[in-house]
């Protein structure tokens, strides 16, 4: 089928940052007008300037802006948009919002609201997978709880269920995501507390405290399948991604295809994902996540009924623009010939793509978020390099928003070439003003374990030791300054100590120039010039 015209005249993008810009670009490629939305913190942001028009939502806090479904639907109706693309995060997997959009007579760029609701309940998804023979991580199919008033019978029943699952096991939230509500339990003694904690955390995060038990599969690789489906019910797999390198259950590095799979393994994985998606009535774009254990078996984890952050690596190896396909599919079009051909090739992919998420986090401190204003910002470019970002020098990412600054993707003929290209692209990337995850990614690009496909969700714990040592990090700075001609001699001796060593999270009162420097940062910004902690 040859597609003509455009899927929509005007689309509202209910998101911010790099993904909003990514979707606006797809609209521009299709000659579709784009409507951006923005909070107070994003006035004049890149995605607002790129769009054909924009609507202000409210204050920076997501609950008052990007999570205000009512305002977003009203903005779409007022601006004459015909469809809403939610991107990822924010309202993208909120079935009630998708339902609001559909009820307003707008097209929802994603799976139908009832599919989101059904698949978003992880227990329902597990039951569905189990019923059609897709192997699920062993565990319970119903919520598990020991109430405060529970009798000995109830307690014993739960302990029996846990013993049947096997220790160590995971307590997981039925409504979960992002590792919230998740607890690892080593033995029966810790079960009751973990259930209570996990349930309380899930209740606070999702408004639903249901938790269930799942065996811990470890070591394991995290491998997911990109799915596309049309409204007639046809679903195909565009290929898989390996997203094993994570911290706090959040991905850091993703690649397509997953290295080291046999074509039989790949074929069976894609078949499992398509079988599940078809049974769920999935349309538009979604991702089915699996764990791959040491014996080479796949275990279904969950379905994300939305565009993924890491969709770009699949685009690079499949040649399919997933976002433009999403727009066509949302308009009612059937899966295109190009998509069907790409799905045919997905079992034997050509080329290899790797993405690293450059985030505003300190990899020396457990990837905790850092604050500050981005200074210098130079992106990699050249052959086989794609950078998706909406950051500009001088930008400050509010702490409420995702600390992702840029997605650096590389594409090459095979995995070793892609790793070399990643190393080169990372060398070209310069970001000042804030500490980022760049040192970690530079490490990965040079890691023999990564090159040898020794991948597991424990990669960070197993291989990343942070900066080799305090001394070596300081030494690296000294050597670098020497090499740069900034100094003629470097003394690496510790300076005379004025005070006892700092402990824990305490900052020494010793007048460290480094510390002092942080305080007077950005002298042109009066809000930075404050001797005491900033009041709320």
């Amino acid at each position: 089928m040859i597609r003509s015209g455009r899927p929509f005249r005007r689309v509202l993008i209910a998101n911010r940052g790099e993904i909003a810009l990514r979707i606006i670009r797809a609209c521009q490629d299709l000659r579709v007008e784009s409507v951006a939305v923005y909070s107070d913190a994003d006035r004049g942001a890149a995605h607002v300037r790129a769009a054909d028009s924009s609507v202000h939502l409210g204050p920076a806090a997501p609950a008052e802006s990007y999570l205000r479904g009512d305002r977003i639907v009203a903005a779409a109706l007022d601006s004459g948009a015909e469809a809403i693309h939610p991107g990822y995060g924010f309202l993208s997997e909120r079935a009630s919002f998708a339902q609001q959009v559909e009820a307003a007579g707008l097209a929802w760029v994603g799976p139908r609201s009832e599919t989101i609701a059904a698949i978003g309940d992880k227990l329902a998804a597990r039951r569905l997978a189990d019923s059609i023979g897709v192997p699920i991580v062993p565990g319970t199919l119903e919520p598990v709880s020991i109430g405060p008033a529970a009798g000995a019978d109830r307690r014993a029943a739960v302990l029996d269920a846990a013993a049947a699952v096997g220790y160590p096991l995971m307590v997981k939230a039925a409504a979960g995501g992002g590792g919230r509500g998740m607890r690892r339990v080593d033995g029966p003694a810790a079960l009751e507390a973990a259930l209570a904690d996990g349930s309380a955390e899930a209740g606070a995060a999702f408004g639903d405290g249901s938790v269930y038990l799942e065996r811990e599969i470890r070591p394991a690789r995290h491998i997911e399948v990109q799915l596309l489906g049309d409204q007639a019910g046809r679903v195909v797999a565009l290929g898989e991604r390996d997203c094993s390198i994570q911290r706090r259950h959040q991905k850091l590095v993703e690649e397509a295809p997953a290295a080291g799979l046999s074509s039989a393994q790949r074929g069976s994985l894609h078949e499992l994902a398509v079988r599940l998606a078809s049974a769920a009535g999935l349309s538009n774009a979604a991702t089915a996540e699996f764990l791959l254990d040491e014996t080479g078996r796949f275990w279904f984890l969950e379905v994300n009924a939305r565009l993924q952050v890491e969709h770009g690596v699949t685009e690079l190896v499949s040649g399919i623009d997933i976002v433009t396909e999403q727009l066509w599919l949302a308009s009612g079009a059937a899966l295109s010939a190009a998509v069907l051909a790409a799905a045919e090739r997905a079992g034997a992919p050509a080329g290899h793509a790797i993405e690293v998420r450059i985030s505003q986090e300190d990899p020396a401190r457990g990837f905790s978020p850092t604050s500050g204003r981005v200074g210098r910002f130079r992106q990699a470019s050249g052959p086989g390099v794609r950078v998706d970002t909406a950051i500009e020098p001088g930008d400050q990412v509010p702490p409420d928003y995702d600390p992702l600054l840029a997605k650096l993707m590389v594409h090459a003929a095979d995995r070793p070439a892609a790793i070399d290209r990643l190393r080169r692209a990372l060398d070209e990337t310069e970001i000042g003003g804030v500490q980022t995850t760049l040192p970690f990614h530079r490490f990965v690009a040079r890691s023999p374990a990564f090159a040898a496909v020794q991948l597991s969700t424990d990669f960070v714990a197993d291989h990343w030791a942070g900066p080799a040592s305090q001394a070596s990090r300081a030494d690296a700075l000294g050597q670098a300054l020497l090499g740069a001609g900034l100094a003629e001699a470097v003394s690496a001796s510790p300076p005379a100590a004025g005070h006892p060593p700092a402990r824990g999270r305490m900052t020494s009162g010793r007048p460290s120039p480094w510390r002092a420097a942080r305080l007077g940062d950005q002298p042109d910004d009066p809000s930075q010039d404050r001797p005491w902690g900033r009041p709320r």
């Binding site: 401190r365 978020p369 604050s371 500050g372 200074g375 210098r376 970001i431 003003g433 804030v434 500490q435 980022t436 530079r442 040079r446 900066p467 305090q470 001394a471 990090r473 300081a474 690296a476 700075l477 000294g478 050597q479 670098a480 300054l481 090499g483 740069a484 001609g485 900034l486 100094a487 001699a489 470097v490 003394s491 001796s493 510790p494 300076p495 005379a496 100590a497 004025g498 005070h499 006892p500 060593p501 700092a502 824990g504 999270r505 305490m506 020494s508 009162g509 460290s512 480094w514 510390r515 420097a517 942080r518 305080l519 007077g520 002298p523 001797p531 005491w532 902690g533 900033r534 709320r536």
Partner: protein
């Protein structure tokens, strides 16, 4: 271009915990800094021994910023690690050394600033002005990434001032408590 004569680089204090790499560079430059024109300059690669093509050190040096006390600070990013380096002239360095020597010989106790090591929200403040504290005592608790981080005293002292209250948000480097 006149080069500074020396840079001292080392640990910010002996015995800092290996897992607490927040402050680990203390660099001071002796000599003239005025003629260094490095505004947004990329100084390229520092030598790192064998050139395998794989292990080059990337160095970027940011613009100079003059602080209120007259010192000049530059951001230096080495292989993605971000440092802020204070460039100081020789006279100031020798003055500071004398002052710190004098402090240790006379036994004068300098006021100790406790600053925030991470951005977050104050959950609890456990001390008040006038309190006498012992080493290791909890001063306050900062919540970041939904985790509670205790801030403890490194040594005995007395609380002079508390700059934050529960519910306040703090940024990296904000002054929390002043100890004597």
């Amino acid at each position: 271009m006149t080069r500074p004569r020396a840079i001292e680089a080392g640990l910010a204090g002996p015995g800092r915990q290996a897992d607490d790499p927040t402050v680990n560079v203390d660099a001071t430059t002796a000599g003239s800094i005025e003629c260094l024109d490095l505004e947004h300059a990329i100084l390229g690669q520092a030598p790192d021994g064998e050139g395998s093509g794989q292990t080059r050190t990337r160095l970027a040096i940011g613009p100079a910023r003059r602080m209120m006390d007259g010192t000049v600070v530059r951001e230096v990013v080495v292989d993605g690690w971000r440092f802020e380096v204070q460039l100081d002239d020789a006279r100031r360095i020798s003055l500071r050394r004398r002052a710190s020597r004098a402090a240790s010989t006379v036994g004068h106790v300098r006021r100790l600033e406790v600053r925030s090591d991470l951005p977050g929200r104050i959950v609890r403040v456990a001390v008040a002005p006038g309190d006498t504290i012992v080493a290791g005592q909890e001063l306050l608790v900062i919540e970041a990434m939904k985790m509670h981080n205790e801030v403890r005293a490194t040594g005995p002292g007395r609380v002079v001032q508390v700059g934050v209250a529960p519910g306040d948000t703090v940024e990296l480097g904000d002054l929390l408590v002043l100890l004597d």
